[in-house]
């Protein structure tokens, strides 16, 4: 036996079919997912080295800007830790982020919102967590934007996060929201998550202590990935 992963808490995650989020209707499986234990395939995963990162990969204010220019919008620092369900830090985790600009417009060929592009903002960044699972990046706060779901649905300001842990079984994509935003509680995508307690874990907290005077506000956002079981009563101890 290997030290497998405990089952994913499916009642905590949004279910596949959430009719208020219309696109889920034709894209949600109807059969129950088939239960199986994790195997060496699910328990391993790609390893990413810090040398793949460019010096500005975690600075969205500058990584698409012309020389001497910077992105327009409220400047923020986002930081936090990636830990697992057992509370252990996850070092070496690759985090990729993407977001709309301060006006709520994405830099994407299929995007049709009338808000203008910012010539100095691309909206994508990435970083790898340190030994304590910590990460940090700099960006501008994205704007809310309308989307074609209900006749007048608006997304709350949010940043998309894609996270790789050490195992493919930990793979996760989610979204981060901002403390105090009333739009969070009106959004059908957020509302796909069954409980308020679960939603609150996706809301980053404003941090006045880490805020840089006369420069950028700080927000803290911790991420929890699935954690492997580890007990002496399974046949293989980690590292043995």
């Amino acid at each position: 036996m290997t030290n497998g992963f405990p089952a994913r808490s499916r009642a905590w995650h949004p279910p596949a079919l959430t009719p208020a989020y219309k696109t889920s209707l034709a894209r949600s499986p109807r059969h129950a997912p088939l239960m199986m234990p994790t195997t060496a395939s699910e328990e391993s995963g790609p390893v990413f080295g810090h040398d793949m990162l460019g010096p500005l990969d975690n600075d969205l204010i500058l990584n698409f800007a012309s020389d001497g220019q910077s992105a327009i919008g409220p400047r923020i620092i986002l930081y936090g830790r990636v830990i697992d369900e057992m509370g252990r830090p996850v070092p070496g985790a690759l985090i990729e982020v993407w977001q709309a600009n301060a006006g709520g417009r994405y830099r994407h060929s299929k995007e049709r919102y009338l808000a203008p592009l910012d010539p100095n903002f691309g909206g994508c960044g990435r970083m790898i967590t340190g030994a304590d699972g910590g990460y940090e990046f700099r960006t501008v706060q994205p704007g809310p934007y309308p989307w074609p779901n209900g006749p007048n649905d608006w997304r709350p300001a949010h940043i998309h996060f894609s996270v790789f842990g050490h195992s493919f079984a930990q793979r996760l994509i989610t979204q981060m929201y901002f403390e105090g935003d009333p739009m969070i509680w009106l959004c059908p995508i957020v509302g796909a998550i069954p409980s308020r307690a679960a939603i609150e874990t996706l809301v980053a907290a404003y941090d006045p202590v880490r805020t840089i005077p006369m420069d950028a506000r700080a927000y803290k956002f911790d991420i929890v990935l699935r954690g492997r079981r580890q007990t002496l009563f399974e046949n293989r101890i980690e590292g043995a």
Binding site: M1, T2, S9, W12, H13, P14, A16, T23, L25, R27, S28, P29, R30, H31, A32, P33, L34, M35, M36, P37, T38, T39, A40, S41, E42, S44, G45, P46, V47, M52, D57, D84, E85, M86, G87, E96, W98, Y106, R107, H108, S109, K110, G123, C124, H160, S162, F168, A169, R171, L172, I173, T174, Q175, I189, V190, A198, T201, L202, V224, G227
Partner: protein
């Protein structure tokens, strides 16, 4: 009252949305920020094993191919070993945004070897797939097996009660090392997804 079990809850998933390419494959949509898109090249050196190409698409309940999905794969090398570090000549990790017009994904890789199940039995050669897109609230995990391999003793496939659905996990050889693997989110051909 009893003592408290000290376990964190996993961060809840949210859909990757329509613009997942910006963050994960920016080069596909012409966003020049990184030198190359992650997972675009799985074979980076002298690698043994049978070279194969996997082609397919992700279809919704109406049969239409998704044009905003992101598909990731993870697999062992030809001897059943997983890449250990960032410099491995065979990465085992592939990522495809699919063609922006047709939704067709393509992976250039090698046929994997066999990997053990937790109880020691060997699994038939397989590749893990992970699918995210607008409208998918939690990434979908599935496995691709090979129709031209002996899958009869595979410990995962043998757990499947509805054996008539097993072909949804089998990639069909097309000749010249090309395999076709279509994923159906709904409908009579709905792919088997896993909870593991």
């Amino acid at each position: 009252m009893v003592q408290k079990i000290d376990v964190n809850r996993e961060s809840p998933s949210q859909t990757a949305g329509p613009y997942v390419h910006i963050g994960c494959t920016p080069g596909v949509d012409g966003l020049e920020i990184y030198p190359h898109d992650l997972g675009s090249q799985m074979i980076r050196g002298d690698v043994s094993g049978e070279r194969i190409t996997i082609k397919g698409a992700v279809h919704d309940g109406t049969g239409m191919a998704l044009r905003d999905a992101l598909v990731e794969i993870w697999q062992a090398d030809s001897e059943g070993r997983f890449a250990k570090g960032p410099d491995a000549p065979f990465t085992g990790f592939g990522r495809s945004a699919g063609d922006m017009t047709t939704g067709e994904f393509t992976f250039q890789t090698i046929k994997p070897g066999r990997v053990a199940f937790p109880d020691g039995r060997m699994q038939a050669p397989h590749i893990l797939f992970w699918i995210v897109a607008r409208g998918i609230n939690l990434g979908l995990q599935t496995r691709m097996y090979f129709a031209d391999e002996d899958n009869s003793d595979d410990p995962v496939l043998s757990r499947i009660e509805h054996a008539s659905r097993i072909p949804t996990l089998l990639a069909q050889p097309q000749g010249d090392g090309v395999y076709r693997f279509d994923i159906h989110l709904q409908g009579p051909q709905e792919t088997i997804f896993f909870d593991c």
